[in-house]
């Protein structure tokens, strides 16, 4: 997948955000160990991690942009494209799967208007993906909506759940 390129880029790590990152340095003996925390901060600030942001992080930490991109794309939680305002990750791994998770995903795709996994609804409100095991197997179907961990979602419960995310 080719990452997105932003048209005009404003650095993330200025002012308080830069200070927050540098405050973490005391916890680690190397600069490189700040990479995952820095990428999380980019995503919190911008909603996704662009090529330009990868360049900025690389320069800050003394790494190459290619190295940073290699790390970003290894992990599933960093978005290399803009996503909907509400990003929904529903678990469909076996323990949830045998309890009806695929029906929940179908309901999500229909009612968000996303239509297919990974697509963003036309109004920019939702993106839905399937995720492998969220570690809440006793409470099918669990999902992450942005940073909210939601459990025991059934197809019938989808409309009320979505209504909480305007």
């Amino acid at each position: 997948m080719t990452p997105h390129v932003e048209s005009s880029y404003h650095p993330v790590f200025v002012g308080a955000v830069r200070d927050r990152l540098e405050a973490l340095q005391g916890r680690y003996p190397t600069r490189m160990a700040l990479l995952l925390p820095a990428l999380w901060m980019v995503q919190e600030e911008r909603g996704w991690v662009s090529i330009d942001a990868m360049r900025e992080v690389a320069e800050l930490l003394g790494l190459t942009p290619a190295y940073v991109q290699g790390v970003v794309t290894f992990y599933t939680m960093y978005h290399i494209h803009p996503v909907g305002r509400h990003f929904i990750q529903a678990c469909t791994t076996s323990p949830c799967n045998i309890c009806g998770a695929e029906d929940v995903v179908r309901a999500l795709l229909e009612q968000t208007g996303c239509g297919e996994l990974g697509a963003t609804s036309a109004d920019g409100r939702f993106t839905v993906i399937e995720v492998e095991c969220l570690g809440a197997c006793g409470f099918p179907t669990p999902m992450l909506i942005n940073n909210d961990f939601v459990e025991s979602v059934s197809p019938d419960g989808v409309p009320a759940l979505l209504a909480r995310y305007p």
Binding site: M32, L36, W40, M77, T92, E132, A136, C137, G138, L144
Partner: protein, 435 residues
Amino acid sequence: MGFPHPIHPKETAVLSSHFGDSAARTFRGWTERGGYQALRQALTMTPEQIIDEVKASGLRGRGGAGFPTGLKWSFMPKEDGKPHYLCCNADESEPGTFKDREILRWTPHALIEGCVIAALAIRAEVSYIYIRGEYTDPYTVLQAAVDEAYAEGALGANVFGSGKRLEVVVHRGAGAYICGEETALMNSLEGRRGNPRIKPPFPAVAGLFGMPTTINNVETLAAVPHILTRGAAWYAGLCLSNPKSTGTKLISVCGHVQRPGTYEITLGLPMRELIYDICGGMRPGRTLKAVIPGGSSVPIMTPEEVDACATDYEGVAACGSLLGSGGMIVMDDSTDLVYQVMRLARFYAHESCAQCTNCREGTAWTTRILERILRGEGKESDLALLLDLADNMTGKTICVLSDSCAAPVVSGIHKFRPDFDAYLPRSVAPAMSGS
């Protein structure tokens, strides 16, 4: 207690005593419940004394491998002049496993205390808790507890006035099952792709940042304070079957039982009692078809094997599987086992870090063959091909992700052959189809 259910008489609540009790999350609440006594005690002990106590308790690693914890700690060098590190593996992501998250979100101070006691034992000053990125709520609770422990002097440059420095850093992952493998975890913490490392060197020699490192699971570390305060003999006495399996184990049970949840049992409890008494058995009108007892990486068990099984390391191994992480997936007769084996194979294909050929190609190929069989396009030779592939994926790679993909496939084909045959064209397997 069996969160989210009240304690069952057949449970033994030690680590889980305060699950569901939000007051136990605070430093004050934890102290009022007897917390931080073990740390104060450990601060007066030598590293050898702590290690001997844990060795005598019989505590074994609760993340899956079951390696004796005290012995692991004893591998750390003594007077080498290098910084040592403790890593806590809170990357819980083995399908079926959701026990550590209850420790993280209900008793975070138990984990902090366990970390720093272990750090004292291995002569480390810094402990890193690597928590999976998806555990947003547990992360928030844990970080708040760490901040509070610093403010109360239980962490920092001079812990409880002892002159000893003990730091705990919570580090978030970003979505990668493989980072639960200890050397992948260390790479990820260092800011690298989470590729497992070739061993040797083992972490005790050259681990995190190239320094001597011990990595323990959340549940293992959370058991340590109890062992110090109540004594190794007490812990070793918690044993119902085999003396090599002592103490309690959190078992997270999911799938088709009436009461899924995280339960704490004394090791050796009959698996049947866990499933039928504690978890309430199957849904009405349903019967047991299969159990994956230790997270998705272990072989599938038949109902007959379950009936004969004592739930401890040796007992489950004797009945055709492994205790693993204690993540138990229960499947009733409504389950399409072939489809679920394919889903597990797809999981491993998705999570393969792709550095070893046998894993990268094998997990994806296994998935494609199973998908073909499910479409009704299976060939006569497909089951033999799957077994041959599995053989080439077992013991051939840097880590065991590849072996983990093979386990459900091989056990599925061997123990549930009619389910697979039923998907093959009738002419291909008339004798085995059972239909």
